[in-house]
């Protein structure tokens, strides 16, 4: 039936129903009422509609007449074998109850509200709903943003520049420095190692220095001008000696020593000599 379809339609596309639809005059003829029941937002809305048809101020409306009209409407719908939603039937029952209460004056000691009190509550609810409906109409007819009133069409963007601000205390700085230096100093073996000449370094140096020498020369003399610190000198001598031996074996150098611990003499390989380890 229409009401159910309508409810579905509302769920599927809630936007499609225009609020403006409320302004259309609802049919008041009995038959049309039946057909148009789906247009009501529940029984209170139907009652409000019926009340308006009494063409008097809601404050002066005859609740009894209203109840009768509503009940008559429900009867008609049922006579046509159309189903009514449960809320409508609950309202019908309540109105029938109200009607009976209005007929019988409240007995002394009787529990609950009198018929007049119930009628007043119904009237309050109808007036409150009507007030909200009027308010909605007034609201929607105000100057509305994007329809009557406009915002700046070309807003100017605020450019946000992100900047980091760092903080550190002098204590942080000094702690970091001291502990770092101390750590390095304690694992200081590397510093000594750094001054050890590698075999390769020694060999490169010797190649450069000795390559063009024809006369016997003391090894120490090559190195002494480079090496100021005693510990470096020792390391350099060791590497150089090892490198020298290697170069002699390969035939680039000749080497001689008169006795143990005597100075070592080197010279470049002589052309006529055979590349043999002569001094061994």
């Amino acid at each position: 039936m229409a009401q159910i379809e309508d409810a579905k339609a509302e769920k599927a596309t809630p936007m499609d129903r225009l609020w403006a639809g409320g302004d259309e005059m609802r049919q008041t003829g009995d038959l049309e009422l039946v057909v148009d029941v789906a247009g009501f937002e529940g029984p209170l809305d139907l009652l409000l509609h019926l009340a308006r048809n009494q063409k008097v101020d809601l404050a002066r409306i005859s609740i009894q007449a209203l109840a009768e009209q509503y009940l008559a409407f429900v009867e008609q719908v049922r006579a046509m074998r159309l189903e009514l939603a449960a809320d409508y039937l609950v309202m019908a029952a309540w109105l029938a109850f109200l009607k009976s209460k209005l007929l019988i004056p409240k007995q002394p000691g009787e529990e609950g509200e009198s018929g007049e009190e119930l009628a007043a509550i119904l009237q309050f609810r109808l007036r409150r709903l009507e007030a909200m409906r009027d308010a909605a109409a007034r609201l929607v007819n105000r100057n509305r943003l994007g329809r009557d009133v406009f915002q700046r069409g070309a807003p100017e963007m605020v450019i946000v520049e992100k900047r980091n601000e760092y903080s550190a205390t002098l204590y942080d700085l000094l702690t970091a420095y001291a502990s770092q230096r101390q750590r390095q100093a304690v694992t200081n073996v590397e510093i000594a190692k750094r001054n050890v000449w590698s075999l390769k370094q020694a060999r490169d140096l010797l190649t450069r220095l000795v390559g063009s020498l024809d006369d016997w020369t003391e090894l120490d003399r090559f190195l002494i001008e480079y090496l100021t610190k005693p510990e470096e000198r020792r390391a350099a001598l060791a590497s150089s000696f090892a490198a020298t031996l290697e170069m002699v074996r390969e035939g680039y150098l000749e080497m001689r020593q008169h006795e143990a611990f005597a100075p070592l003499y080197l010279r470049g390989r002589q052309r006529d000599n055979k590349p043999v380890g002569a001094a061994q």
Binding site: R17, L18, G22, E41, D45, L129, L139, R142, N143, E156
Partner: protein, 245 residues
């Protein structure tokens, strides 16, 4: 040719003179510059700008409220007005030029009658729970209706009521105010009258004007017979229940 331009000041000389009586010139200049800055900031933004945002960007010690009051007065009769939206400020085209502007209208989403009614109830009754909305309308509110309203960003969940079940309460947003050209909720049309009439209460107030009872409510009309308890029972009306055929 264009000399007439110079004689359309934003404010009358007289107004500035009057101000000068109350403030020393340096202070006055300081405020005038702050007004220019606030003007630039709010003008640049499509969205309302809060006083807090203004305070963050204007020189320290500026009386924001005074600056904005000045600016509002300056723009009061221009084609663009400075409007207050809750605690925020925005420039909007003047309301009386709506006839001119409406051709710019982009097709707006239209709210269903139900949604509009719910919106009005939330606006006038806030904070209000869903059950209270349903009580006022006498019908269930579909989930979709509230969702639609939340989507427009005119309605928000405010909190929960201190009652059993702790129901969520709904209220309106700054966007709602902005959209309907309201400075604050108290500016809702007819709010005071509705409140005075007791129509914004959840329950019928004690002083609510009760319909005039018949001259003698105890007396039945000629067309009536008194009902007995047995009648009522037969009619099934003593305990209202749903009768289905």
């Amino acid at each position: 040719m264009k000399d007439h331009a110079s004689i359309i000041p934003f404010r009358t000389e007289r107004a500035i003179e009057a101000d000068a009586l109350n403030q020393n010139p340096a202070e006055r200049l300081h405020l005038a510059e702050a007004v220019r800055m606030a003007e630039a900031i709010v003008f640049a933004s499509a969205e309302p700008v809060s006083e807090k945002q203004l305070a963050d960007r204007l020189p320290a010690g500026v009386d924001i409220a005074a600056a904005m009051a000045d600016l509002q007065q300056i723009y009061a009769r221009r084609g663009v007005n400075l409007v207050r939206v809750g605690d925020d400020w925005a420039f909007r085209t003047a309301g009386d030029l709506a006839f001119l502007m409406s051709r710019e209208t982009v097709q707006q989403k239209k709210l269903s009658r139900a949604a509009l009614e719910v919106l009005a109830i939330i606006a006038y009754h806030q904070p209000v729970t869903r059950a209270e909305i349903e009580d006022i309308r006498g019908v269930e509110t579909s989930r979709g209706t509230l969702d639609t309203l939340m989507e427009t960003e005119w309605v928000r969940m405010r909190g929960r009521r201190h009652t059993p079940g702790r129901p969520v309460t709904y209220g309106t947003t700054g966007r709602f105010l902005d959209h309907f050209s309201l400075e604050e909720i108290r500016d809702l049309p007819g709010l005071d009258e509705l409140k005075g009439a007791g129509l914004l209460s959840a329950r019928m107030p004690a002083n609510f004007s009760v319909p005039l009872p018949p001259a003698d409510p105890d007396e039945l009309t000629e067309e009536e017979d008194p009902l007995t308890d047995i009648d009522l029972e037969e009619l099934g009306l003593l305990t209202p229940r749903i009768t289905d055929d």
